[in-house]
């Protein structure tokens, strides 16, 4: 089998060329538009970068207008993603319901936001959650509350309802014209490949077992429970350098590791901290148990958890007067003069875009709170926190360490069935056609993308017969993920925002078309989300440096909660951060509660 050049070995491959093509998204030198795609509809749906950018570009005019409405609450939660909703949930579980969640977008969820069309619900971002280990108390509690987790087995493994676990078959990879089961390409592996794979596996096992002198694991979830000093040297390396040092050059192993870095962090192995890379492999394994946990997933991905969380913490869900306030652009957070114990400490100014979607015209509202929870990414602080805004020189240097990977996410609606035919021939599973049958996660080896996830895997979309106004054809939705990880994130982000719908469509179909020859014909619709700041980037130095700890310290009446405080954009981290910040607030407000975080 031909060797595929990897990042460290040799000249450009087809993959690199493709990657370069995708990296130069809309760079002005695009190939001619693909003809014959006129039947495909779609648009760029979000997120609402215009609203967000008005923060950066709108100047003080956004804050200068008269305050139209005033309100006071116990806690103002800024950001309605997983961290913000988890904070709200934690407050709510402690009996504190007098809070507001302010969210810029029309829909809650942040990068776990769900989407929906006439076929199915589908994810716009995060799409699964590994079954948590027992030490994630708060997360286990949430899953128990949502009737997903039923208990623990003797080995401490969480037992979840069968229908919430990702169904088999879960993963396959496409390589040179065929699909193969699993994510690591075993077919054609040489003895040396196998040896290196085992060597890497041993290295992971070593770190699974590694503990600090006080018994903390070297790699744990949440990151805050890890003992970073045990493997501190890994945070000085990139994952690629680390593999080099281990003498691991097998291309298929390196592809696998690179895929893992792109999948979890939006970074190449050549950019990603080895600490983060090893965390991916080691943190979720329990000592003495080699098999990684099952994953929980739903057609709308983690959007399911977002919706359930919102149901549990919301009142008149998402109404203008409710606890959950989408379409609220937070423009200012300022400390109030200390008026003694129990008084409001923070004032939050936000534009109510539900009354007017134009930030220049929307009414400015004031929310005074005893405490605020900042559940927004760290890079927004200098645009919103009053003291940083008024004195740019006071913005600390460590804030610059938070950088974010841009992502393009596409949802394709296709006129085709997801699964193999109902009564496929007996040997269909492995021996027919293009190889292993469609899975939940379908990954392309020679591609800069991560491939696609199938929304109808957990629950088939019903076929609407002609008699009921349908056309009797099966349909499915694929979510295609492309981390833009090749260049500087700022440049990549600029390119991403210039990307037109038609360019994006052509790129996605060209990429998928290699593995799915009929995708051009079957696709009816492609919609896009351009996540400019999709994931915090765990580059070397971030995870064991001072920035994370600094960024998590409360300032004035503001407590901080976001997955970026862990340096890794994981659901567990976002949830943990939200719960932790909520518990800080509960402590500050002298509420009685049993800590989970």
């Amino acid at each position: 089998m031909a060797r595929l050049p990897t990042a460290s070995s040799g000249g450009p491959s087809r993959r690199d060329v493709l990657a370069a093509g995708l990296a130069s998204l809309s760079a002005g030198c695009l190939p001619r538009r693909d003809p014959g795609l006129g039947h495909i509809r779609g648009e760029i749906l979000g997120p609402s970068d215009g609203r967000g950018h008005s923060l950066r570009d709108g100047g003080e005019g956004l804050r200068g207008r008269a305050i139209a409405e005033q309100e006071r609450v116990d806690v103002a939660i800024l950001g309605g993603g997983v961290a913000g909703l988890s904070a709200a949930w934690r407050l709510s579980r402690a009996g504190l319901d007098h809070f507001r969640v302010l969210e810029l977008e029309d829909e809650l969820g942040g990068t776990s936001r769900p989407g929906e069309n006439h076929v199915t619900t589908y994810p716009w971002g995060a799409h699964y959650l590994p079954v948590p280990s027992r030490n994630l108390d708060a997360l286990c509690e949430l899953l128990r509350e949502l009737d997903i987790l039923r208990g623990f087995d003797a080995g401490g493994r969480a037992l979840c309802r069968e229908e919430t676990l990702c169904r088999a078959p879960q993963e396959r990879v496409f390589f040179k014209g065929r699909w193969y089961e699993g994510l690591y390409l075993r077919v054609g592996a040489s003895a040396e490949d196998q040896r290196q794979f085992e060597r890497f596996h041993d290295e992971v096992s070593r770190w699974v077992k590694a503990v600090s002198s006080d018994g903390r694991r070297a790699f744990s979830l949440p990151r805050a429970h890890s003992a970073p000093e045990v493997a501190a040297e890994l945070d000085q390396l990139t994952m690629a350098t680390y593999l080099d040092r281990l003498g691991l050059s097998s291309w298929r192993l390196r592809w696998y590791v690179d895929y893992a870095c792109r999948d979890d962090f939006g970074l190449r192995a050549t950019q990603c901290s080895a600490w983060a890379g090893m965390h991916y492999f080691a943190a979720r394994l329990l000592h003495g148990d080699d098999s990684p946990p099952e994953v929980l997933t739903w057609p709308e991905g983690n959007g399911y958890l977002v919706r359930r969380l919102a149901q549990h913490v919301g009142d008149e869900s998402a109404s203008r007067r409710g606890r959950l306030r989408p379409r609220s652009l937070v423009v200012d957070v300022r400390a109030l003069p200390n008026a003694g114990p129990g008084a409001d400490t923070v004032e939050v100014l936000y534009l109510d875009l539900s009354q007017d979607p134009d930030p220049r015209k929307a009414p400015l509202c004031s929310l005074r709170a005893r405490r605020a929870i900042w559940a927004l990414p760290a890079f927004l602080r200098r645009h919103v926190l009053a003291d940083y805004r008024q004195r740019p020189d006071s913005v600390p240097a460590w804030l610059q360490q938070f950088t974010y990977a841009p992502w393009l996410v596409a949802n394709l609606t296709l006129r085709r069935a997801h699964a193999a035919p109902v009564a496929a021939a007996p040997v269909s599973v492995s021996a027919r056609g293009a190889g292993f049958p469609p899975c939940w996660d379908n990954v392309l080896i020679e591609s800069p993308s991560l491939g696609y996830v199938v929304a109808t895997h957990q629950r088939e979309a019903p076929i609407v017969p002609r008699s009921q106004g349908g056309d009797g054809q099966p349909r499915t939705v694929w979510t295609y993920y492309l981390p833009l990880s090749d260049g500087d994130p700022k440049d990549e982000r600029a390119r991403l925002l210039k990307l037109s719908w038609a360019d994006a469509r052509d790129r996605v179909l060209a990429d998928l078309g290699r593995a799915e020859p009929t995708v051009r014909r079957d696709t009816e619709r492609i919609d896009f989300f351009r996540w400019g700041h999709g994931m915090v980037r765990p580059v070397p130095g971030l995870l064991t440096g001072a920035a994370l700890a600094q960024a998590a310290l409360p300032r004035g009446g503001v407590h901080f909660a976001h997955s970026d405080l862990s340096g890794m954009a994981l659901f567990e981290e976002a949830h943990h951060a939200g719960v932790r910040a909520a518990e800080e607030v509960l402590t500050a407000l002298d509420a009685s509660f049993e800590p989970w975080a």
Binding site: E163, R167, A168, P421, P426, V429
Partner: protein, 598 residues
């Protein structure tokens, strides 16, 4: 079937005094307005007075050269004529079943139509147009007969239309073919004397019939399939027509236009021949031992029905679902043990039955033997399958029109989603018996219907004391798969009673009778009760199951019993893992086991 009913009405006119003179050309009685001239095309002169002795030698010589060619045409026409007859008979008996009735009806109707054609031939009065008409009729036969099989194949699935279309095609083709020989006789009558003419035409006709009846089953249908065979006969007819424009050109009007028509018809038939695969799925014929008489693509599967000598078979995506010859064994074994077990447990005859899968309607047929049943709810994914089972004559006959019964309610839905909805909506309906008749777990899409999750949902749909039965692939060929299903049912909260039946088309086949295990305190330490059935409760008319057989079904030979580590069997993986949504282990067991046999 010989065309011995070929009437000779058209010949009657040609009987003339000159018949007595063997040396006289037949055409000497009347001025040969048209036909005989063809035999003299070389001379360019019409034998206005054919009786002239001087003309006789050259005439005879030419006739000797060309008459064989004309008789070759007769031979071809005869072959084709019988070919259409065979096609009509074959298609009718394939599609409607009951081959004796269908073949007799089709042949009888066809012969009768030949008579109509023969009778109508007398209305072709204008002798000068006789040749032109003959060629037109050849073309019409070529088109109608040539596309007959294709037309019938395309309409047969729509049962309401099929019979009228079938009989119309038979009558129309027969009528046109019936016109051929009388007209040909009239065309030829002047070139030879009557007794020779009749003798030769009929001889060639019967020889052609023999050729057709041998070629049809031995060479043409096996090689080309019905649709292409039919088109081939059409091509031959059209070729005769085209050839006729040369052989008989001097008696023709507007020869160029006529030849153009011939070419058009030939072109259409050739195109049909080339695209026959698109008309039906003839390409599939090679996959099946018997002839494919129906193939439909539904959104979910490819449904194929084949017909052999005495039975027909249903295939889904190439997998045999039943053979009409022995499906009674399979379905009696599927349905009756569960019915009796439910009766024993509930102390009354079951009234409400749920069928999951079973879209062929055959399990429903068995259930309808019980007068106690008021309602059967069937959940089958594929509306195309249930519609065929309701309307396609062969299937409808086989399932005794069970899906048209007012007691049977068919819902086309995914059984798992339907059960999930049932649970989610807290639907109060419960069923006394559930018959689970899905295809084998050969793909993940079907494998999910054999999971612990599915069986837990199923348990929730059963009435107190209710019973389920699951078709469970072969305990002999796929022993591990079979016991995995048993294990999964146990994990899903059932007492499982595995059993088997011998179905010649399938071999040893397996089922699991499943009774919900009581939950709560009563369940603590409860062991699986012994199986017992009420006696003398089976409905009449069964061919496979009786009281003795009922008990025998549950006796498994050692080579089909649960694999154990002690026995050293299945050493690779002796601990059976229940099939769950997130492992679908059954699909891999199944694939591994059946690979050995394929």
């Amino acid at each position: 079937m010989p065309k011995n009913a070929q009437p000779l009405e058209g010949v009657r006119d040609s009987v003339s005094p000159s018949d007595a003179d063997p040396e006289q050309p037949a055409g000497n009685v009347r001025p040969p307005a048209d036909s005989a001239s063809a035999l003299q095309s070389e001379s360019g002169a019409l034998p206005d007075d054919a009786a002239a002795p001087s003309a006789a030698p050259s005439y005879r010589r030419r006739r000797q050269m060309q008459v064989p060619l004309l008789f070759l045409s007769v031979f071809i026409i005869a072959t084709c004529g019988l070919g259409y007859e065979l096609i009509a008979g074959t298609v009718a008996s394939y599609l409607l079943g009951d081959s004796v009735t269908q073949f007799s009806t089709a042949i009888g109707l066809y012969l009768f139509a030949l008579g109509i054609g023969a009778y109508l031939s007398r209305f072709f009065d204008r002798e000068d147009e006789l040749t032109t008409r003959f060629i037109d009729i050849e073309l019409a036969v070529a088109l109608l007969g040539g596309f007959a099989a294709a037309i019938l194949m395309l309409t047969f699935a729509h049962a309401a239309w099929f019979r009228p279309v079938l009989y119309s095609v038979i009558v129309a083709t027969g009528t046109l073919v019936g016109l051929e020989v009388p007209l040909l006789l009239r065309i030829l009558r002047r070139s030879m004397e009557f007794k020779e003419l009749v003798a030769r035409v009929l001889t060639v006709d019967y020889v052609g019939s023999l050729a057709a009846s041998l070629l049809f089953p031995l060479l043409l249908v096996p090689r080309l399939g019905l649709v292409r065979t039919s088109l081939l006969f059409g091509l031959l007819n059209a070729a005769v027509g085209l050839w006729g424009t040369f052989l008989l050109r001097d008696s023709l009007r507007r020869v160029v236009a006529l030849r153009l028509r011939c070419l058009l018809v030939l072109g259409a038939l050739l195109a049909g021949f080339a695209f026959a695969d698109h008309i039906t799925s003839l390409a599939e014929d090679g996959l099946y031992a018997d002839d494919v008489i129906l193939s439909r693509n539904s959104p979910y599967q490819r449904i194929v029905i084949t017909r052999g000598k005495s039975s027909f078979q249903l295939f889904l995506n190439g997998n045999l679902q039943f053979s009409s010859a022995d499906e009674y064994r399979y379905h009696e074994a599927l349905v009756h043990p569960a019915m009796l077990k439910a009766q024993r447990q509930q102390g009354r005859a079951p009234q409400r039955v749920l069928i999951l899968g079973g879209g062929d309607g055959l399990a429903a047929r068995e259930l309808l033997r019980y007068g106690s049943i008021d309602e059967i709810t069937m959940i089958d994914l594929d509306p195309v399958m249930t519609e065929l089972a309701r309307t396609f004559p062969l299937l409808k006959e086989q399932n005794n029109a069970s899906l048209s019964s007012t007691k049977v309610h068919v819902h086309n839905a995914d059984a798992m989603q339907w059960l999930e909805e049932h649970a989610r909506k807290r639907d109060p309906r419960r069923w006394d018996v559930a018959v689970i008749d899905f295809p084998d777990p050969s793909s993940f899409a079907v494998g999910k219907l054999y999971t612990t999750h599915f069986y837990r949902l199923l348990r929730g749909a059963l009435a107190p004391g209710g019973t389920a039965v699951v078709q469970s692939t072969s305990p002999l060929f796929a022993r591990r798969s079979f016991w995995c299903i048993v294990r999964t049912l146990e994990e899903g909260g059932f007492f499982a009673y595995p059993y088997h039946a011998f179905v010649p088309s399938f071999g040893e086949w397996g089922y699991v009778l499943a009774v919900p295990r009581p939950t709560g305190l009563a369940a603590a330490g409860q062991t699986q009760p012994l199986l017992d059935f009420p006696s003398a409760s089976l409905p009449p008319g069964l061919r496979y199951i009786d009281d003795a057989m009922l008990r025998a079904l549950f006796v498994l030979s050692p080579d089909m019993r649960r694999p154990t580590r002690e026995a050293g069997e299945a050493s690779d993986d002796s601990e059976l893992v229940p099939n769950r949504l997130n492992n679908q282990i059954l699909v891999s067991y199944y694939e591994r086991e059946w690979k050995r046999w394929n």
